[in-house]
Symmetry: C2
Subunit: 980 residues, 2 copies
């Protein structure tokens, strides 16, 4: 292109028919040229081979659409279609010719309101005689129409039906520079200007420390060379064609990077209407099968050594690689390649993983403290002491007998690992950790916003571009068709009444699904109870000895399997329910989907755990009056060490199992499988795979990749993990460690997936992680309450404290075990429930003990709840209130103390603004200067002042500047003019 | 002014000396003109008389500065000063002449960096021979310098030293239209464009209902006619001189209203530096006494019937008037006159008052329910029953005797008014009310933002303009002077170390002040205890009978007085402490001040109430082992009805007293007094007051008004009231009603103050109420917890419930009173503490009763805390947890359900954006059209393309448009250019 043509930016997107004509002709000319070019230089032909450029080797492919082609082969048809288009164009210009100039505006309006334009009708007429038939005919027609519209918008298209993949046609789209400029201005993209400035480092000691730190962590940074020194930043400004001189446009091909180009093209594709009222843009065309896929191209190959260096390859080497797991992520590059939204996800994941390091260190210390002090723990010592002679009541009716407390020694010692005073400290620590994490993320986000020049960008702008979804528009159209008799075709929308059935279905289904979760938890409980009872009755001694282990293991595995299955089911149900709702925009679709998925998955993952933490062992009743399920099964009791131990086991199995199986197995396995299936399916030819692979062009290779399905699953997985890390951290201090280990793999796994397995996603701008932040905040809030309850109700912390400070005779823990056990007279057993083997321990038992705070049989009110129970309960509750409020207050203080915007960033933003104002001020002065000198040469006559509204911008500014210059050069005259 | 001159907008604020010259000359010419004009028409002279315009009757006075004048009279001196300035200018231009053109930029830079400019040095030289001496000399010199700078900035000044107020000189400032335009562009003011659009009303039933509602509330709207129909809104756009044609500039005098003009001038005054590095703008000059006051003018008179209609008069009639108390406020007009910040305050106050209506209705209903059911209340019936024969233990040592419970009948019945089940409902209601209020305010704020065209305006922009405060800069200068040896004059700032003493002082003083509050509360307790003891010992029966009443009343009054005094003290202390801190910007100053004031005042107002609610009557001990203060005074007990009654009394006295005395008396009285004092002080002449008043010009009248001191006190007062309304609403359901009554007066009172008592404040833009919103939110959060505790611990609600469902033999409340009273064997009294009159009731007493849950004397552990106590405590705590979490969850749900942006507003904003894009698109097309037709006439030679950076904006756009047009007209040619 010549410089002149590029400077002439297309200001007229819908310029009417007289512009279409030349564009069509242009295409013809190009298609003619290719054949010449192709034969010319070998470099260009390899470039074409790569498929990253049009066949002229000049114009970059910014986007690819694919569509189904019935008949394989046919260079004729493709050439023919080009010819066809040219004919259309000529025909159109001939037919529309007479009106073209005078009726420009009317024509334009006609196009807008969707009446068939000249082009469309002519295309239709010409296409109708063609080889397409029936359904495909219709689709081909809509494709032609759509592509025509795209050409109207200024995009350049190239078709390729003779690809190596039979049955698939490709439309390659290129956006010329002037179109990019126009759209960048509309989208208010911030671009770097020529002006650079130095990012001031903090001074004095702080600087020294930070430089030292950066030297230490130097090997942790990825080897991604940056184009500019670290302390130099380009001032950026919203791109505007009027301010073009601010930007460095010397290399027009690279001013907009490939991510920006593809997002611009996607923007055009989205808003280009194909037919009146219904069906908006590419999404609806994809939905109706007119096109089969739409994707931008990856930057290049990663595997071949011959491949020239590109961002994708760099990402593959320095990011999507397990061997660099210990390094920081090259977030800047990720953002450059995938856009801000995906960049923010990885930045968030990185920060989360980083923050998990201190949490897991503290968790491990807490666990080790438990290990170290297990021998000093008086209650477990008392239980394990050989002289301990406490006889406990049977654990089940009839088949079980009395047992010695000392046999529970093992579990008591194991409990101490997780149930010691440091867990209280640790859960406070983790609550504050969560608050810190949120704050840090806010700051990191702000820093990234600054670095990525998003500071001025409002989300509202983004919302403006949220076109209604195709399904929504379709529904609205149907509704208005139904109501056509009374409405005057005015803009309809779906009211509450229209949506009522869908809403009802949603509520019912959600409740049903949650009900299913509860039912399954209950089922597992029943399984445990009945299996235990059955196994106890077994005659084999070995079986009976391993009852506990067998039951617990099988139950936990069943639980895990059910959770994994339901997770997939719930994901599908949530999507289906959201589709039913027909939300208006993509954004609201996403939010509703996330909301539903989150609720279902959260219930699914945490219901069994919540049951164990708060309900198990509490609804047992007491000896002589146990609580029965189905009149025969006694409710589960916890082992002597308290339910915390069981909670811990359940938590670790669920968490580890979920992470190992779901994240790693599913995430690696399934995409590979899918890719394989797709590949096999399309393999209809007979030639060698290897050979074919190599010969494939870029857009063909990318076609075999999995399409990008959004970040929701990735975030969801992490949020559930965040739940495991924070919600029950009081009972499982190693959770952060497991999460950390998982995430180190997860980052690289996701990176690999994005770089190699998926088609390149369209870059989306985003300032924050949206709804996920609120969900995280909600989880952190709930975590405080749940931890308070876990500590005070599930663990034995409060009873121990109460005993030590209220009841202990010597202020020590000695006698605590005895204090927590109530007495039961075995003669009070219900008939038929007493043990069959009363002499199992070798001596007759009159009084057995059980864990509860109840009056002894000899008191005035035997087996009534005792005063100790109420006292302990009161203290438990006091602890909950104090813990909740103190931790919430501390979180608020953390929130308040740490400013949301890092100080250096706010200073830089301030500085940037000042620099920008300065720049404009100087420019304005410079302008005057120039005009002053010009004014003296006397070119007054060209600036004739007119009140014509349309041209007034230019005219105004000119005359204004002129007046100014006159004024300056002629001071005394000026006074009279200005002041009279 | 001629049109041409106005169109020629000053693009060059610091244009150097060659521009100063004409401006100075202009002043001379004007001063000459006045004398002619003054004698000419009577209308113009009256206009001058009003003082709203310069003496030419044309140019509006936008701002007034006053300064002290030593010698009274002297029309000579003022004329002389004008002459002087003219001479300076001439001298300057002569001296600087040779360089003026070539060295323009250097000169400009020199001025910026603060080196003495030509003007300054010359002014100095000339002024030095004058009549000023010593200190005044210095001040006068700085005034001259400052005013010179203002003229450089393009402002027009007029001096008036011959005013009727001796000793005060006035500088009237006028901003010409071009300056206003320039500054409006810099400040990114949004101005209405010519384009109007229809605000779409919601359709169908909703519309009918809303129109019906609006018809009903029609009389509640103030009679402020609006310039445009309600459903028509001007599209507004950030003012830009390049887009001038968008705006309706037909009436240039009124395009910027008086509030905008004054805020623009204030902006210039603020940023105009007087001397290098130190002393920034008008604030520091005011601080150092160079000027005594700076204020914009009110729009006109309010009292005289002759006064022409103006906004101020309209506000006085339709807003600042008690007779319109039932009407909505004309918020739009308030904003138009006072700016957004004050507008938001009144909008907030209005919404708060409005929201108080349902709250007080429900409160009254709750109270009435209490009144209606007082006779059905079983506990009070039992107490009052004549057959009730319970003997209570003495209320004080020795002098008091046993008493019959039935004598407490009155208080028991009264307690029921505030302590009945509906209070629980009411406090949940009020917690949700608070959440609703916050949500409603967010929505109202958004609506106002839309109506006031603040939607695009970022607070960051505002922060950018936050110049460091003069005190801060002074401190920094001093520091850098001290450190001059090692620093190379680089930008210093105050570090933590510099501020450490101030921070320490802050912390210490804050703790001390809070300590004082506690001490005073403790003092009042001591007063109550000791007085009660003393009065009990009195021999007079009447005195003894009225002990309760006397003590309570006097204590409450003392409390109130102390609170009122400390409130003032704390306000002063907080300000002093903040001044000590030397915050960098005004914004941070305000925030720190608010924070400190809030903490101190909150403690002051609520400490006695919190004592009564949660501590009184709880640290009493039990008969036989009472708790003593100073070894002789028993701690206070509550009356039998529980402490809720006393809490209620204390609350109502504090709240009513504070509101009546502080708000109304202080707020009305003190400004009047101050005004009087200032008036008397300046009254040195002998002529009649009345006569003089009438002759005073606008700027002289305004000089006698109180300066505007910020909205902090107004907000603070309301926040404390909000605290009274929400924090202890469980104990005082009438609080919202009292608040409502107060606020109805308060709105008009504040309005009157702003319209008549205060100088006009400079309009400040604000999008929200800032820190106050967070404080409100904090108070609402704390309110939930406090109410939970009040209901469960202060009221008898939980014990009643527990009795009814756990202990009552027949499930009714019968026997509750007996259940709450423990037994005491009188023989267990400590020696010397038993009553002196054991036969006071006429029979010997062996067992007396007291209110507590303790074991009876005959149990194994006499006087130990009983099981009931623990059970009740546990239920109290459960209630707290449940209440807190449920209410917080409900608040969150309310927050989540009510969208922050009203739907119609978000749609309007969306629509506005689309319209704006549309407008620009059309304009662009129109431009092309024009240029196309022009291009054909062949004016190509003027658009010579140049790479010159400075002129490229204009040149670029021109050449671009040109190329475009060529392209369009010459299609085939075009193809080759664009594509080659």
């Amino acid at each position: 292109m010549t410089e002149e043509a590029e400077a002439g930016i297309n200001l007229q997107p819908h310029s009417g028919s007289e512009q279409q004509a030349p564009q069509f002709l242009r295409d013809v000319i190009f298609h003619g040229k290719f054949k010449l070019l192709k034969a010319l230089t070998p470099e260009e032909s390899t470039q074409c081979q790569h498929g990253l450029f049009f066949q002229d080797g000049q114009r970059r492919v910014d986007y690819v659409l694919t569509y189904p082609v019935k008949k394989p082969g046919g260079s004729r048809s493709s050439r023919q279609s080009v010819q066809l288009l040219a004919e259309n164009a000529v025909a159109c210009s001939l037919r529309c010719g007479p009106h073209s100039c005078g009726e420009d505006l009317r024509h334009h309006q006609a196009q807008r309101t969707g009446n068939p334009s000249c082009l469309q009708s002519s295309t239709m007429a010409d296409v109708e005689g063609e080889t397409f038939n029936g359904h495909d005919d219709q689709k081909a027609f809509r494709r032609e129409e759509f592509e025509g519209k795209l050409r109207d918008m200024g995009l350049e298209l190239e078709k390729d039906e003779i690809s190596k993949i039979p049955g698939v046609g490709f439309v390659k789209i290129h956006a010329p520079f002037n179109i990019l400029c126009r759209e960048a201005e509309f989208m208010k993209l911030k671009m770097p200007t020529k002006k650079v400035y130095e990012v001031k480092q903090s001074s004095g000691i702080v600087e020294k420390i930070s430089s030292l730190v950066s030297k230490v962590v130097e090997p942790l940074h990825p080897h991604v060379e940056e184009h500019q020194p670290k302390n130099i930043k380009h001032l950026s400004h919203t791109f505007s064609r009027e301010k073009q001189h601010l930007f460095d446009l010397s290399d027009k091909d690279y001013f907009f990077d490939s991510k920006t180009r593809s997002s611009i093209v996607f923007e055009i594709l989205k808003r280009t209407k194909c037919k009146a009222t219904y069906s908006m843009g590419i999404t609806s065309l994809l939905g109706s099968g007119v096109y089969t896929a739409a994707y931008p191209l990856h930057d290049g190959d990663i595997n071949e050594e011959s491949a020239e260096p590109n961002d994708r390859k760099l990402l593959y080497e320095e990011w999507a690689n397990y061997s660099v797991f210990y390094k920081y992520q090259p977030i800047g590059l990720v953002r450059k390649y995938f856009g801000e939204k995906i960049g923010l996800y990885f930045a968030w994941l990185g920060l989360y993983t980083q923050m998990l390091i201190p949490a897991s260190v503290v968790g491990v210390i807490v666990f080790l403290y438990g290990c170290a002090t297990v021998d000093d723990n008086i209650p477990s010592m008392e239980i394990c002491h050989p002289k301990n002679n406490i006889t406990m009541c049977p654990l089940c009716d009839r088949v079980c007998s009395y047992w010695k407390l000392s046999t529970a020694c093992g579990t008591a010692r194991a409990s101490h690992l997780f149930d010691n005073p440091t867990t209280v400290f640790f859960s406070i620590f983790m609550a504050l950790w969560a608050a810190m994490f949120m704050e840090h993320w806010k700051r990191r986000q702000m820093r990234l916003n600054y670095e990525w020049d998003l500071t001025g960008f409002e989300d509202e702008e983004e919302a403006l571009k949220d076109h209604p979804r195709a399904e929504y528009e379709f529904q609205v159209m149907q509704k208005s068709l139904r109501k056509d008799r009374k409405s005057q075709h005015k803009m309809e929308k779906l009211t509450c009444r229209d949506r009522l059935p869908a809403y009802m279905a949603n509520v019912v289904m959600m409740l049903l699904m949650i009900g299913v979760t509860f039912a399954i938890v209950f089922g597992v409980i029943l399984y445990r109870i009945s299996t235990k009872a059955a196994l106890h009755m077994s005659s084999s001694l070995i079986t009976r000895n391993h009852v506990q282990l067998t039951v617990k293991t099988t139950a936990a595995i069943i639980n895990l399997v059910v959770i994994l299955i339901l997770d997939e089911v719930y994901g599908a149900v949530a999507r289906w329910l959201t589709v039913l709702e027909i939300p208006k925009t993509d954004k609201s679709f996403e939010e509703r989907l996330i909301f539903k998925t989150f609720i279902l998955k959260f219930f699914n993952a945490f219901t069994p755990i919540i049951y164990i933490a708060f309900f198990r062992g509490r609804l047992v009743g007491r000896p002589g009056s146990y609580l029965y399920v189905f009149e025969s099964y006694r409710m589960e009791e916890c082992t002597h060490g308290g339910c915390l131990m069981e909670l811990c086991i359940q938590l670790s199995i669920t968490m580890l199992g979920k992470q190992l199986i779901q994240n790693n197995l599913f995430e690696i396995g399934i995409p590979k499988l899918k890719k394989l299936i797709r590949f096999i399916r399309s393999k209809q030819g007979a030639f060698q795979e290897e050979e074919r692979q190599k010969k494939l062009k870029r857009y063909e290779t990318d076609h075999f990749l999995e399409p990008f399905a959004g970040l929701t699953p990735e975030y969801m997985e992490m949020i559930i993990q965040f739940g495991f890390v924070t919600l029950f951290v009081a009972s499982f201090p190693l959770a952060p460690l497991f999460a950390l280990l998982n995430n180190i793999i997860e980052i690289r796994l996701d990176a690999k997936k994005f770089v190699t397995e998926l088609r390149r996603p369209v870059a989306a701008r985003a300032k924050d992680i949206g709804i996920w932040y609120n969900i995280l905040k909600g989880v952190a809030k709930v975590a405080v309450i749940i931890n308070a309850f876990v500590i005070s109700f599930t663990s034995d912390f409060i009873p121990r404290m109460v005993y030590q400070y209220m009841y202990s005779p010597d202020g020590s823990m000695h006698g605590f075990v005895n204090h927590t056990l109530s007495y039961f007279n075995v003669s009070h057993f219900q008939a038929g429930k007493e043990t069959l083997d009363p002499l199992y321990l070798g001596y007759p038992v009159e009084i057995c003990r059980y864990k509860d705070y109840r009056e002894p049989p000899w008191s005035a009110t035997p087996y009534e709840i005792s005063k100790e129970f109420w006292a302990v309960l009161a203290f438990r509750l006091v602890f909950v209130i104090v813990f909740q409020n103190v931790v919430m207050l501390m979180s608020d203080i953390v929130d308040w103390l740490i400013p949301d915007i890092p100080k250096d960033i706010s200073m830089q933003i301030h500085k940037e603004k000042i620099l920008l104002v300065d720049l404009f001020m100087k420019e304005e002065q410079g302008k005057i200067h120039i005009l002053e000198s010009r004014a003296s040469t006397g070119t007054k006559e060209i600036f004739s002042r007119s009140n014509n509204n349309v041209s007034s911008t230019t005219a105004h500014s000119c005359s204004r500047l002129h007046t100014k210059s006159t004024k300056a050069s002629n001071a005394s005259d000026d006074v009279s003019i200005v002041q009279s």
